[in-house]
């Protein structure tokens, strides 16, 4: 039952092949048996899940069940869940139980989905390896000695390990796509503003975007249909109606123009990863697509610009964690200053502190123009690169990450090496464009992700393009050894 996709589960539930309580119990059992190897969950809400499943079964029996009624999913622990601890994988919020649901969480409740719990992640979504979690690193189901990618490493590993068919995740610089690539799953970061950020704990507000990780493009489409939509509680959320992202999946992609940016195949790209991506592009040609070489000339500036803008926003976003109203507070503070310094000093991990410092520095008097303003200028140039490219092509493709999953601890001593893992994914966040990663083979025995970058609000088309590839390939159906 754990091998079923969401599309299959929906059919199974409606055809009475099994109940929601049955599949929910099965997955909860699987989590209990297997997850100690992966550490993909921070909190498992078994009792609540069974209650939700029973309620879903009742609705299914009545025959007026909503889209995902009875379908088990899990939420990244960055989404606030009413009555359930939401830690953002930080000691700072280890004791934090929100009295409200994120809009995304609420959307899934309305759609009848069953939440199995909260998935592990890098602390405050800052990381590319899921090693910065207060609750310990997540391990890759393809090789438990290796990282699953980050920051949505728990969401990706749980799907790859078949503990849950799909999860919610968030992507600020590649945090959905890179772990999807590392774990052989399908991840989608929507256009900035397509999914509400209300209740999704902010890392870098102008870059953060929620999206799904699933096993197929079709499942990602089903998930996104629930997640995306307008929200009056988020001023940056686009005022566009919800839509059915499965509607266009089966359209032909004959005549599709795929832009292949030369900058994404240069130095630093693992040759085997590059080979798999080229093979995938050939497959697309077979499906009737045309490859067009393009240039995104400002690509190399994406990482430095990102590591100014994202930490700058984070430095302010994380100021609310001050030990005063909720979250971690140090023991016996001597005075206000001591309360602030020790609560934050003890409550935040190393990477979070590093980024707060970098961000505060970039915004400080005398450096603002040289860093923050310059980075914003670069951001506009990067966006313009894409706008120009989309005059010529329908979609852009390349590798999601330069390397397959690396070993746990391998890049901990070198933050810059870690930051470069997101070299191909960061630009889309800076531009606000939608991006996807789908499995396209193996390098050194580990999954490789093909990245799709779409034009603004072109998610339905991207899902169609990804689905057509998955109809012609079976990379997405490969099962991680530890999941078998």
């Amino acid at each position: 039952m754990h091998q079923l996709t969401i599309a299959e589960i929906i059919r199974g539930l409606r055809d009475r092949q099994f109940s929601s309580v049955e599949i929910t119990s099965h997955l909860l059992e699987r989590i209990q048996q297997l997850d100690s190897q992966f550490n993909s969950f921070i909190t498992v809400t078994g009792e609540q899940a069974i209650q939700q499943a029973a309620a879903a079964d009742a609705r299914l029996a009545q025959g007026n069940a909503p889209a995902l009624c009875g379908v088990p999913i899990a939420h990244k622990d960055i989404f606030c869940t009413n009555g359930v601890r939401t830690s953002c994988a930080s000691k700072m919020l280890d004791n934090f139980v929100p009295p409200y649901d994120a809009t995304v969480v609420d959307n899934f409740l309305q759609a009848g989905a069953v939440s199995l719990g909260k998935t592990n992640m890098d602390e405050f979504a800052m990381g590319s390896s899921n090693e910065s979690s207060y609750y310990g690193a997540v391990k890759n189901p393809w090789d438990v000695e290796r990282i699953p990618g980050g920051s949505s490493g728990g969401s990706a590993a749980a799907v790859a390990a078949q503990l849950v068919p799909a999860t919610t995740a968030s992507d600020t610089g590649g945090s959905i796509r890179q772990p999807a690539a590392m774990t052989g799953t399908t991840g989608l970061k929507p256009t900035y503003g397509r999914v509400s950020r209300w209740g999704m704990i902010a890392f870098a507000s102008s870059l953060d975007q929620g999206g799904p990780i699933a096993r197929t493009a079709e499942d990602a489409a089903l998930m996104l249909s629930v997640m995306a939509g307008p929200d009056t509680k988020d001023s940056t959320c686009l005022d566009r109606p919800t839509q059915d992202y499965t509607a266009n999946l089966n359209e032909s992609i004959s005549g599709l123009k795929i832009g292949v940016p030369s900058e994404y195949f240069g130095e630093g790209l693992d040759s085997e990863v590059g080979a798999r991506v080229q093979e995938a592009l050939k497959e697309y040609e077979k499906l009737g697509a045309e490859l067009v070489e393009i240039s995104l000339p400002h690509s190399k500036l994406a990482v430095p610009a990102y590591y100014v803008i994202a930490p700058a926003e984070a430095s302010a976003n994380l100021s609310r964690f001050d030990g005063v109203r909720y979250g971690y507070r140090c023991e016996n503070p001597a005075d206000l200053r001591d309360l602030y310094m020790r609560s934050r000093g003890e409550g935040f991990g190393e990477e979070v502190k590093r980024r707060i410092l970098v961000g505060s520095y970039a915004l400080s008097a005398g450096y603002y123009d040289a860093y923050y303003n310059k980075a914003q200028q670069v951001r506009r140039l990067i966006k313009q690169d894409f706008v120009d490219a989309f005059q010529k092509v329908d979609v852009i493709m390349g590798p999601t990450a330069p390397n397959p999953a690396f070993k746990l601890g391998e890049k901990n001593a070198d933050p810059v090496a870690m930051y470069l893992e997101d070299i191909y994914t960061i630009a889309t966040n800076l531009a606000g464009l939608p991006g996807m990663s789908i499995p396209c083979g193996f390098a050194h025995g580990l999954p490789v992700g093909l990245q799709l970058i779409g034009n603004y609000l072109d998610e339905a088309r991207m899902l169609n393009i990804a689905h057509q590839f998955q109809q012609a390939s079976d990379w997405h159906q490969k099962i991680a050894p530890a999941a078998q």
Binding site: C88, A202, A316
Partner: protein, 487 residues
């Protein structure tokens, strides 16, 4: 050496919106601590601000009233600092692109002169919460509490150019701002509740000097009286300091009303770096010309326009018109009395005279006046139609102030109607002349030039005998006839 004081003011005005600037929580004053703070105001994780459109409308109204440029594209920024009453660790405010740009207003001084003060800009921002220190708590020492009811209340911060040259000018400017925001109805202007607060930047320089002196900022002045006193005492402190060979340091100072002195607040602290940057949770606010023009069309009559109209329509002096239009409630009250009584000049005299004295004595605002406008109008009508004299009118007014009803009711109940019956007045005159034979004899023998002056004695006696109710003009006429007959 002749010194010149240079003053610029930063005025914070709380906007009278029903809900906060970025959340739906109520802004009402005086509720139990933390009962009007929602998850957004508490900066709970994952919460996001949603702007309150009404706050923008109010800010645009203010900008138009200040003859200012309206920022068609304004941007909210984050001002970063840690303080327990600032839940997010930053204040959402505007810096580079405020909603109200440069403007100017005319202020009126007590000597009748006017002066233009330039507005640098005005911006929208959120208020912080309040820290309540140990005295508030019954148990335990060294405790501080945080009340976040005020957190997120919309403010406009109004920044003037350093155009004021005396404490009196600063007060006149502040009164003008107060007048404008209350006329517009965008703030209750209640300084005692902190709805209008002021920081004063004060410096001194030798008269004729072009360059500005080093300024000190006096924080949180919350009454007109304190502002005047604080500026005076701070200017004198700076003058004394320089004359003694010292130097003014740029710093923040606090005014101690008890000691009537300012003292340094943050001398040791290093300058704050607020690390402003545009708030990524809020989109730039773009206003269309239609939106702005719509607001302009709906603006109420403002103090200057009302003042000019009072002069032309009611024939008031410039001074009276200015006095009556400083507060919208006063202007409205006056206008009711003037139109109902048909006697604008008398109405002005009464509103600024007896009524103002009464309100001052009872420490009441005009909206809570014990004498309603209709009652005062009825009193003035009775003066006009000679039912009562001005002197009796004061007696009637006191009775009305005690809640004894309108003018007619009081006049009737107390029998204060003026005596205009010729026979009755003749009798009073005869009685007084008969009772004061010696004075009558003096009058007869006196030099004719001195006689008019001597008549005053008889008038007084007759008025006294009538308990003030006899018509003075008739007394004069009849008395004159009778005295002439005796010559």
């Amino acid at each position: 050496m002749e010194w010149e004081v240079v003053i610029g003011l930063e005025v914070h005005v709380q906007l009278a919106t029903q809900s906060k600037i970025f959340s739906g929580a109520s802004t009402a004053f005086g509720a139990e601590p933390n009962t009007q703070a929602c998850a957004i105001d508490l900066a709970m994780p994952g919460t996001l601000p949603v702007p309150n459109e009404e706050a923008f409308r109010y800010a645009v109204m203010f900008g138009l009233a200040m003859n200012a440029e309206i920022g068609k594209r304004s941007v909210f920024e984050r001002k970063n600092y840690f303080y327990p009453d600032l839940p997010k660790g930053y204040q959402t405010t505007q810096l580079e692109q405020p909603i109200v740009g440069a403007g100017q207003i005319e202020i009126h001084l007590e000597d009748g002169s006017s002066k233009t003060v330039r507005l640098h800009h005005a911006h929208l921002e959120e208020d912080a919460g309040k820290s309540l220190h140990e005295a508030v708590f019954d148990s335990g020492h060294g405790m501080s509490g945080i009340d976040l009811n005020r957190a997120g209340t919309p403010l406009i911060e109004i920044v003037s150019e350093p155009d004021m040259r005396s404490a009196a000018e600063a007060v006149a400017y502040l009164k003008k701002i107060h007048s404008i925001v209350t006329y517009l109805g965008i703030s209750d202007g209640d300084m005692s509740q902190g709805s209008l607060r002021c920081d004063a930047n004060v410096s001194v320089r030798l008269k004729g000097e072009e360059e500005l002196g080093t300024r000190a900022e006096i924080k949180n002045l919350n009454s007109f009286r304190f502002i005047e006193k604080a500026i005076k005492v701070e200017a004198q402190r700076q003058i004394d300091l320089i004359e003694d060979g010292g130097k003014v340091v740029q710093e923040t100072r606090l005014y101690d009303a008890d000691k009537n002195e300012t003292r340094s607040m943050r001398s040791k602290e290093v300058a704050n770096d607020y690390r402003y940057f545009p708030c990524p949770d809020l989109l730039p606010v773009v206003l269309s010309d239609e939106y702005i023009e719509q607001i302009r069309a709906e603006l109420p009559e403002l103090p200057d326009a009302k003042c000019a109209r009072f002069e032309s329509e009611y024939g008031l002096s410039a001074y009276d018109a200015d006095q009556l239009t400083q507060e919208r409630a006063t202007a409205d009250y006056f206008e009711q009395v003037a139109t109902k009584s048909g006697e604008p000049k008398l109405a002005a005299n009464w509103v600024m005279g007896e009524l103002a004295a009464l309100l001052n004595r009872e420490d009441k605002s005009i909206v809570d006046s014990p004498v309603p406008a209709e009652h005062l109008a009825s009193l003035i009508a009775r003066i006009k139609d000679n039912t009562i004299s001005s002197k009796i009118a004061k007696q009637v007014f006191e009775a009305m102030a005690n809640g004894e009803g309108d003018a007619d009711t009081v006049i009737e109940a107390k029998g204060l109607k003026q005596v205009t019956d010729t026979g009755a007045i003749e009798k009073l005159v005869d009685d007084v002349l008969a009772a004061n034979g010696a004075q009558v004899e003096n009058y007869r023998s006196a030099d004719p030039d001195k006689r008019p002056k001597m008549m005053g004695f008889f008038v007084g006696q007759i008025m006294k005998a009538s308990k003030g109710q006899a018509n003075p003009q008739m007394i004069n006429e009849i008395l004159q006839q009778k005295l002439n007959a005796l010559l």
